[in-house]
C-alpha cells in the first residue's frame, strides 16, 4: 500500500473518508432539495423539468455527478467496513444496557440508519438510472425536455410510496443529526467557541432539510386527493 492508501485505511483514515464524503453529501442534499421544491411551483412541473434538463446537460454537473456517486460509494463501503470492525471489537456484549442519557441516541445507530438509507437510495437510484438510460421519458410537448415531473407526480399518488419516503427522510434526519457535527469532530474541528454553533446548525439542518424533502410528496399526495 502506498502511504496515501495506508493513511486512509486506518481507523482514523476511514473516519476521514466518512467525514469528507458525508459533508459533500450534506451539500448535495441542498442542491437536490432546491430542485425538488420546483415541483411545488404549480406550473405543471415545467421549472422542475427545465432544472433537470440543465443538470443533465451541464458538463460541470456531470463531473459532479460522478464525484457524488464515488462519494456515496466510499461512504457506503467505509461505513460498512467500520460497522463491521466496530461490531467485531466487542464479541460479547453487556447483559445490561447503559441507561445513562449522556450520549445522543442517534449516534449509537449510525450504521443501522445508514443501511435503511442505503435501501431507500437503491430504490431511488434504480428509478433514476432506469429513466435516464433505459426507458426514456416522453418529452414535454413541443420541447426536447423530458417530462420527469409527471413521473414524480404519478409516483407520489401512491400512499405506500409516500409513507416509505417520509420514513426514509426521518431516518436521514437522525443520520444527519449526529453525522453533521460528527464530521467536524472527525476533521479535528472541536473548539469551545464554535462547536456549540456547529451542533446547533447540525440539528437545525437535520430537521429542516429532511422536513423539506418529506413535505413535497405529502403536499403532492394531498393536492392529488383534494383534486
Amino acid at each position: 500500500m502506498s502511504w496515501f492508501t495506508k493513511a486512509l485505511s486506518g481507523s482514523v483514515g476511514k473516519k476521514l473518508v466518512m467525514s469528507l464524503t458525508g459533508l459533500f453529501l450534506i451539500l448535495f442534499l441542498i442542491e437536490h432539495l432546491i430542485g425538488n421544491f420546483m415541483l411545488l411551483k404549480g406550473d405543471g412541473g415545467v421549472a422542475f423539468n427545465e432544472f433537470a434538463h440543465f443538470m443533465k446537460h451541464n458538463p460541470v454537473i456531470l463531473v459532479g455527478e460522478i464525484v457524488m456517486f464515488i462519494g456515496i460509494l466510499l461512504h457506503v463501503i467505509d461505513g460498512l467496513a467500520l460497522e463491521r470492525k466496530n461490531r467485531s471489537a466487542r464479541p460479547i456484549g453487556y447483559a445490561t444496557p447503559n441507561k445513562s442519557a449522556v450520549t445522543s441516541w442517534t449516534s449509537k445507530y449510525m450504521g443501522p440508519f445508514g443501511i435503511i438509507i442505503l435501501i431507500f437510495l437503491a430504490i431511488h437510484l434504480y428509478d433514476f438510472f432506469r429513466y435516464k438510460y433505459f426507458s426514456p421519458v416522453d418529452n414535454m410537448p413541443g420541447t426536447d425536455i423530458s417530462d420527469l415531473a409527471s413521473l414524480v407526480y404519478i409516483k407520489f399518488q401512491s400512499l405506500v410510496y409516500v409513507v416509505f419516503y417520509v420514513i426514509a427522510m426521518i431516518v436521514i434526519g437522525f443520520h444527519l443529526n449526529h453525522g453533521f457535527q460528527s464530521a467536524f469532530q472527525t476533521l479535528g474541528l472541536n473548539h469551545a467557541k464554535y462547536t456549540p454553533a456547529i451542533k446547533f446548525i447540525g440539528s437545525l439542518y437535520a430537521i429542516l432539510v429532511p422536513l423539506g424533502y418529506a413535505l413535497i410528496p405529502v403536499i403532492i399526495y394531498i393536492q392529488n386527493i383534494s383534486n
Binding site: A89, R90, K99, V102, T103, K108, H178, S182, L187
Partner: protein, 250 residues
C-alpha cells in the same frame, strides 16, 4: 441494606462463564462498593467457595486498576468517579445490581471481573513517551510554557488508563485513551520533536490491537472517571492528518 448481586463468574480465559446470583444482607450505606464485594467474598470463603476476583489497588480513584461495569455503566452510576470511589448509599435496599467485566475483544477476561489490559501497554510502547535519557536535560525553567497550555496538557495527562472509555464505547474504541497521551505531548514543547511519528505509531498499534473506530458518540468522555474531553480526540485527529501530510514516513 439487602441486595441481590448478579455477578459474571468465569474461571479462566477459556471458560465460557456466566452470571451467578448472590444475596447479600446487612450492607451499610457507608461501605464502598468494593468493600461490599469484600463482604461477599469473606462469606464465600467461609462457605468454601471461590471468591469473586476483581482488580483493585489504591481504592482512592487514581491507580486505574478497578474495572467493573455496574448496571451497564463502567464505574457505576455516578459521574467522574471510579468503582472504588462509589459508595453503597448510591443504591437502595432491595436493588438488584448487575456486575460485569469490561467487554472488548482487545480486553479478554482473565478471571471473573479481571480483564487483560496489556493492549494499552503496547500502545504506550509504540510512542507514548519523550525519547530522552536520564541526565543532560535543560533546566526546568529553560522553556516557558503558557499556563493554559500546561493546564490543557494536565487535563489530558489526568488519564488513569483504566479502560472505561473502551468499556463504554459501543465500538470498544480506545481513541480517548490514545488521544489523552497524544494530546498531552502535542501540547507541550517537550513532545514536539516526535510529534508526528508518535501519533502515527500509536494509532497503528491501536488498530492492530482490535479496538473499534471512533464514531464520536461521546460515551467514553461521559463515563471517564477523569472526565477527559472529546476535544483531545479532535486534536488526535488533527495530529494524525498533519502527520500523514507532512511527515516523511512513507
Amino acid at each position: 441494606m439487602n441486595l441481590t448481586l448478579k455477578i459474571w463468574r468465569q474461571k479462566n480465559q477459556q471458560d465460557k462463564g456466566g452470571f451467578k446470583d448472590y444475596k447479600i444482607s446487612d450492607i451499610s450505606p457507608d461501605m464502598s462498593f468494593l468493600e461490599m464485594i469484600d463482604v461477599l467474598n469473606e462469606d464465600l470463603v467461609k462457605k468454601g467457595e471461590d471468591p469473586v476476583h476483581f482488580d483493585h489497588d489504591c481504592r482512592e480513584g487514581i491507580c486505574g486498576m478497578c474495572s467493573m461495569v455496574i448496571n451497564g455503566r463502567p464505574h457505576g452510576p455516578k459521574q467522574a468517579i471510579t468503582t472504588c470511589q462509589l459508595h453503597m448509599r448510591s443504591f437502595s435496599d432491595g436493588d438488584t445490581i448487575t456486575i460485569e467485566p469490561w467487554r472488548a475483544k482487545a480486553f479478554p477476561v482473565i478471571k471473573d471481573l479481571v480483564v487483560d489490559r496489556t493492549p494499552f501497554e503496547r500502545i504506550m510502547q509504540a510512542g507514548g513517551y519523550v525519547s530522552i535519557n536520564t541526565g543532560g536535560v535543560p533546566d526546568a525553567n529553560a522553556i516557558p510554557i503558557p499556563k493554559n497550555m500546561a493546564e490543557d496538557a494536565m487535563d489530558a495527562a489526568a488519564c488513569i488508563g483504566c479502560g472505561a472509555c473502551v468499556a463504554s464505547c459501543k465500538n470498544a474504541s480506545a481513541m480517548l485513551f490514545v488521544s489523552a497521551k497524544v494530546s498531552q505531548l502535542a501540547l507541550l514543547p517537550q513532545g514536539m520533536i516526535e510529534r508526528k511519528s508518535r501519533v502515527e505509531k500509536m494509532l497503528m498499534q491501536m488498530d492492530a490491537e482490535g479496538f473499534g473506530a471512533c464514531t464520536n458518540t461521546g460515551a467514553c468522555s461521559a463515563e471517564c472517571p477523569k472526565e477527559i474531553s472529546l476535544t483531545h480526540i479532535a486534536r488526535l485527529n488533527r495530529e494524525y492528518y498533519s502527520a500523514k501530510v507532512y511527515s516523511e514516513n512513507v
